[in-house]
């Protein structure tokens, strides 16, 4: 399955800042799709809002550790389906309060982009 309308990540990071914005938009879109996938199993009042400022995990966050683990697996799958290679979002302990990658939607999108930059050739 490919996510329509998303520019390939590898080409995006090599291009202009406008392309970087479009690349971030693509990552955000996959994050929102993953949120939608997870929301199906949550009661209506606990469903996660699709917004950059949404707190995902940690104090005030919606997800418990099981929810976060499910979310990570769904997002990893979507990233692989969209970009054609695996991304390990658990390289750092996702439950650790010090890493904070999964604190908000914004921090998660930044983290995924950083992982992209660390790939050989400047991509994931």
């Amino acid at each position: 399955m490919t996510t329509q309308g998303i520019k390939p990540l590898e080409s995006s990071v090599k291009e202009s800042s406008q392309d970087c914005t479009s690349h971030l938009d693509g990552v955000l879109r996959l994050i929102y799709e993953s949120i939608a996938g997870l929301n199906v199993q949550l009661p209506e009042e606990q469903r996660i809002r699709k917004s950059l400022s949404t707190v995902l995990f940690g104090a005030g966050g919606t997800l418990d550790s099981l929810g976060l683990a499910n979310f990570i697996v769904i997002l990893e799958q979507k990233l692989e389906e969209s970009y054609g290679f695996r991304v390990d979002l658990t390289e750092d302990d996702p439950f650790s309060p010090t890493t904070g990658h999964f604190r908000t939607v914004h921090s998660l999108a930044t983290y995924v982009s950083e992982l992209a930059a660390r790939r050989p050739g400047g991509a994931l």
């Binding site: 199906v40 949550l42 009661p43 550790s65 683990a69 499910n70």
Partner: protein, 585 residues
């Protein structure tokens, strides 16, 4: 994990919380409250379940290597005998049977291996190949539980295959002790809910199907039956034929078929009769409405003719306009979205879970014949004109037998499936009914009905409880297939005579209203019993004889071995029942 409605208890050796979320939060199917035993303690949870009073169902989902320790050896290619593996399967089956005492039904998920587990490669299904052994273990478990009617095996392998290679998630396992991707639990939750609906008797019983571009390709009124796309060396013709094949297999399972089509009736019927590749002929359909009327009105009309409730119906039509119309006018009818791609028609139908039934009985397979007989009956009613004369002409014979193990499956099925003519809508499992009958002031009879047009089989149930000189009818259940033929009155007459001979003073029936059992109220209002509206209670003073309807013969065969010899006061033995004045032989 909580919500309202029915209660389900999860027992597993891994983390099933995600499944619980899907079960509780999915809007589809029955609403559930879910509890879970601490994971990893399967055997204690089965043998001595804690805090499960009032819990309806249990779901048991385990890993093969945890329950069958010998299978760990097999996984590690350490020598282990088949005998040891199967002995460990037997122990598990014994525990499942024990757990069934606490629940109305127990669902057990079959064992699976992750798709990435290659096992023994090309030797997987040879000798002591890993997958062959797992198949044997699953088959042995199924065989061991075969006779336990309230334990059902759910096919876990299907869920894995639906999700594909990502079904098993090592990451989720290491992070949370959950072995499967959330999508596996999504499919599992749907199947568990379908299983619960099946046990509750909520399965659909009738498929109403359109003709043009649904049962065949093309518009018969424009093309003529000779030019329809059906069968032949044509990919779409084959797809339509496969769809008919899928419908026919449903029919053979006891699901009724009917037609609602906007067409000239004679033209459509000619196509059904003459097209050489037509698999479904007019006699395969319990009823049809082929005219230019509103489809929703036609569906409602068909349902009335077949004596079913709208909640029993599935409507299939290629036209989104007709689907929207029926969905809007008859919200209880299930109208699935139907694919535009005609090659998907058969698979779409075969995938539907709303026909799942918890029981398979001889009557299921012959249901169509029964409805064909009903058509003949209706025809004779119109010809004769007078209702009384028609009823007398049917030559109805009712055979009454105290229920025993031989008919218990059918009795429980009828109790759990019947909505309309059902006094108390009591839903029970076999063990629950067995336990209820253990008290010697209770009796339950099964009524088999036939007439000159056909044998409807076991279609009625009446149970009584006697207390302080009065008898209370607990269950009064009659299949819609025989409603309106005075069988209801005959059943009451039997109960009244039975109670009179015991010297009881009155016979009572408490009506418990549901959304669907108004026909039952209507019958009791016409029964002649005194009605206390405050308590919804009908009473017959047994000082008066209750009239047996004219033209009905009642028989009672000798009691089968195993039938309860108990009578309300211990004064009337089964053998003496045959002398009751209602019997004609």
């Amino acid at each position: 994990m909580a919500r309202t409605g029915l209660k389900l208890h999860l027992i597993s050796d891994f983390n099933l919380e995600t499944l619980g979320h899907y079960l509780v939060n999915s809007e589809m199917g029955p609403q559930l409250s879910v509890s879970a035993a601490p994971f990893g303690q399967v055997f204690p949870a089965l043998l001595q379940p804690q805090h499960v009073e009032g819990t309806d169902f249990a779901l048991v989902w385990t890993s093969p290597q945890k329950i069958v320790p010998g299978f760990t050896d097999a996984l590690n290619h350490v020598a282990v005998s088949d005998e040891r593996l199967l002995a460990e399967v037997h122990q598990f089956a014994d525990c499942l049977r024990e757990s069934y005492k606490h629940f109305r039904a127990v669902f057990v998920v079959t064992w699976t291996l992750p798709l990435h587990q290659r096992g023994d490669g090309i030797l997987n299904l040879k000798g002591q190949g890993l997958r062959k052994r797992l198949l044997k273990m699953n088959l042995e478990l199924a065989e061991q539980l075969q006779d336990c009617a309230g334990i059902y095996l759910l096919d876990g392998q299907r869920w894995m295959e639906m999700v594909g290679k990502s079904a098993y998630s090592p990451k989720l396992w290491y992070l949370t002790k959950t072995p499967f991707h959330a999508d596996v639990f999504r499919y599992a939750a749907a199947d568990v809910k379908a299983a619960i609906s099946a046990v509750l008797g909520a399965s659909r019983k009738l498929v109403v199907v359109d003709l043009d571009n649904t049962l065949w390709g093309g518009v018969v009124g424009d093309l003529g039956w000779q030019n329809l796309r059906l069968g032949g060396h044509d990919y779409l013709g084959e797809a339509y034929l496969d769809f008919q094949r899928a419908l026919k297999s449903l029919r053979n399972r006891g699901i009724l078929l009917a037609i609602a089509s906007k067409n000239e009736e004679s033209v459509a019927l000619e196509a059904l009769a003459k097209h050489p590749e037509m698999l479904l002929r007019v006699e395969d359909f319990a009823a049809h409405r082929i005219n230019w009327n509103d489809k929703a009105a036609n569906v409602a009309d068909l349902v009335a003719e077949l004596n079913l409730g709208l909640q029993s119906v599935v409507f299939i039509d290629d036209s989104p306009v007709e689907r929207a119309r029926v969905r809007e006018a008859l919200p209880e009818v299930y109208v699935p979205e139907w694919p535009d791609d005609r090659t998907l028609f058969a698979s779409q139908l075969l995938e539907m879970d709303c026909f799942d039934s918890a029981y398979a009985t001889a009557e299921d397979g012959s249901r169509h014949q029964s409805y064909a007989a009903e058509k003949q009956r209706e025809l004779s009613r119109k010809q004769i004109g007078s209702a009384d004369e028609w009823l007398r002409s049917l030559g109805t014979e009712i055979t009454i037998q105290e229920s025993d193990e031989a008919d218990r499956v059918r009795v429980v099925q009828l109790m759990n499936k019947t909505n309309q003519m059902n006094l108390s809508t009591r839903r029970v499992s076999e063990p629950e009914l067995q336990a209820w009958l253990q008290h010697n002031n209770r009796k339950l009879w099964a009524f088999r009905v036939k007439d000159k047009f056909g044998d409807s089989g076991l279609t009625g149930i009446l149970s009584l409880e006697v207390q302080s000189g009065s008898a209370q009818i607990t269950d009064f259940v009659l299949s819609c297939r025989v409603m309106g033929r005075n069988v209801e009155h005959a059943m009451v007459a039997f109960a009244a005579r039975y109670c009179q001979e015991l010297g009881l003073t009155d016979l009572r029936a408490d009506y418990l209203p549901t959304a669907k059992n108004k026909p039952c109220l209507k019958f009791w209002m016409s029964s002649g019993f005194l009605f206390d509206e405050r308590q919804n209670r009908f009473t017959w003073p047994l000082s008066m004889p209750y009239p047996l309807p004219e033209g009905i013969k009642m028989h009672r065969p000798p009691a089968r071995a195993g039938a309860s010899p108990l009578s309300p006061r211990g004064t009337l033995r089964d053998s003496e029942d045959a002398s009751l004045s209602v019997f004609t032989d």
